[in-house]
């Protein structure tokens, strides 16, 4: 197993550990952590930092009755069962994504963008951010598009390259607002990614008007 070479930005890991990162971006970070021992260690450190900050907060007295109320509630509470174990056999999806989707890739519906490139009908959105899956056939190209906001891709199967680098399983590719890029899937197999965007994209190029009408991706 090769460890990932491309990671989320350090401040994104901080936002995740601090709890300020929103759900959609947090999903991509949590899914990357499943592949990346280095980022797991960093998040653990940043959570330790949260622990120190919590311990050092000036305490605010709580109501005298609070402990009693809590103990009454606990009397009626039962221990939560341990988390449901992963299904037998290896899932293609990392755990946080598997729990968010609740299905494997073959059970999902896909929408064709251009020949060889599909987006999942599954998606989540919160605020201006959205996530869905991107599937590319070997050697296929994602149409050129420019970003009105940021975009991140997490590779879960296969790989792709663009003008900024080559991305393999577990890698995160990040693109800032206004960074055009031309992703080409590797030749040796299908590439499956989690795609997270803030704000819809605007396609450029000859088919752009059509894509922009039909697909907000």
């Amino acid at each position: 197993m090769i460890v990932p070479a491309h990671h989320p930005a350090p401040e994104l890991l901080l936002d995740y550990a601090a709890g300020s990162l929103r759900e959609v971006q947090s999903l991509l970070v949590a899914a990357h952590l499943a592949y990346c021992p280095e980022c797991r260690a960093q998040v653990a450190e940043l959570e330790a930092c949260g622990g120190v900050l919590l311990a050092d907060l000036p305490p605010e007295p709580v109501s005298d009755s609070l402990f009693g109320t809590l103990m009454t509630r606990l009397d009626g509470a039962v221990a939560t069962p341990p988390p449901v174990p992963a299904p037998a056999g290896k899932s293609l999806f990392p755990g946080p994504l598997r729990r968010a989707i609740g299905a494997e890739p073959e059970a999902l519906e896909w929408v064709r963008v251009v020949p060889g490139v599909h987006l999942s009908a599954w998606g989540i959105g919160a605020g201006t951010a959205s996530a869905c899956l991107l599937r590319m056939a070997p050697r296929s190209r994602v149409p050129a598009h420019r970003h009105t906001d940021s975009e991140m891709l997490l590779v879960m199967k296969g790989g792709f390259s663009d003008e900024f680098g080559a991305y393999r399983v577990g890698d995160v590719a990040s693109y800032d607002t206004g960074t055009p890029h031309h992703a080409v899937a590797d030749a040796d197999g299908e590439c499956l990614c989690l795609l997270v965007q803030d704000q819809p994209l605007v396609f450029t190029g000859p088919l752009g008007w059509l894509l922009n009408r039909g697909f907000r991706f």
């Binding site: 709890g19 622990g51 311990a55 509630r73």
Partner: protein, 191 residues
């Protein structure tokens, strides 16, 4: 008799032992001591993040319930007591206040069979690291400490910190990265 909890003494990881007592023996005296220490801090944390006093106490109950019910999942080799309770408080707030799911990594989510983190040298290493970390945070230059506290206490992602403080995004990122480099040293010293 359990040792008195003192979070400033690295040789006496009292809160960790109290949590273990709750896990092993459902020790309600230990739980009361943990409550007395952490409830006012969890309340302060929730208040900082915008909850009013009664909503904050509601969240304190939520968090302490999870502490009681899941104490058996606390591992002092992986996290200090404050760190573990911090992550519960953070996640409960996201759940309840923001009404969002918190995508979390679970122990059996790891996609590789090898390359696992080496086990810490001894049981209370996380508590000792926290002791060094506290000193590092206390000595951060004010502008670095400020962006760090905003991230943890004001629910602001770094882009929002930039907009709110009128500091260019690049400067916020630089300050955070400098702070992160310093924090990292607290962990490397222990390695």
């Amino acid at each position: 008799m359990l040792p008195k909890a003192d979070s400033n003494d690295p040789t006496m990881p009292g809160h960790e032992q109290l949590l273990l007592a709750v896990a092993r023996n459902r020790d309600s005296t230990a739980f009361r001591t943990l409550f007395d220490h952490f409830a006012p801090r969890i309340k302060a944390y929730m208040r900082r993040l915008g909850a009013d006093s009664s909503a904050a106490e509601e969240l304190v109950q939520d968090v302490m319930m999870v502490v009681w019910l899941r104490a058996d999942r606390f591992d002092p080799a992986l996290a200090s007591a404050s760190t573990w309770i911090y992550t519960i408080a953070r996640n409960r707030r996201i759940d309840r206040v923001r009404q969002e799911r918190r995508p979390e990594l679970q122990p059996d989510d790891l996609m590789s069979d090898v390359g696992e983190e080496p086990a810490p040298d001894h049981q209370f290493e996380a508590a000792e690291t926290a002791f060094r970390l506290r000193a590092v945070i206390g000595n951060l230059p004010p502008e670095q400490a400020d962006v760090l506290r905003l991230a943890y206490y004001e629910d602001k992602v770094h882009a929002e910190i930039s907009a709110e403080r009128g500091i260019p995004l690049g400067t916020v990122k630089t300050r955070l990265r400098l702070a992160l480099v310093r924090l990292r040293r607290a962990f490397e010293e222990g390695a």
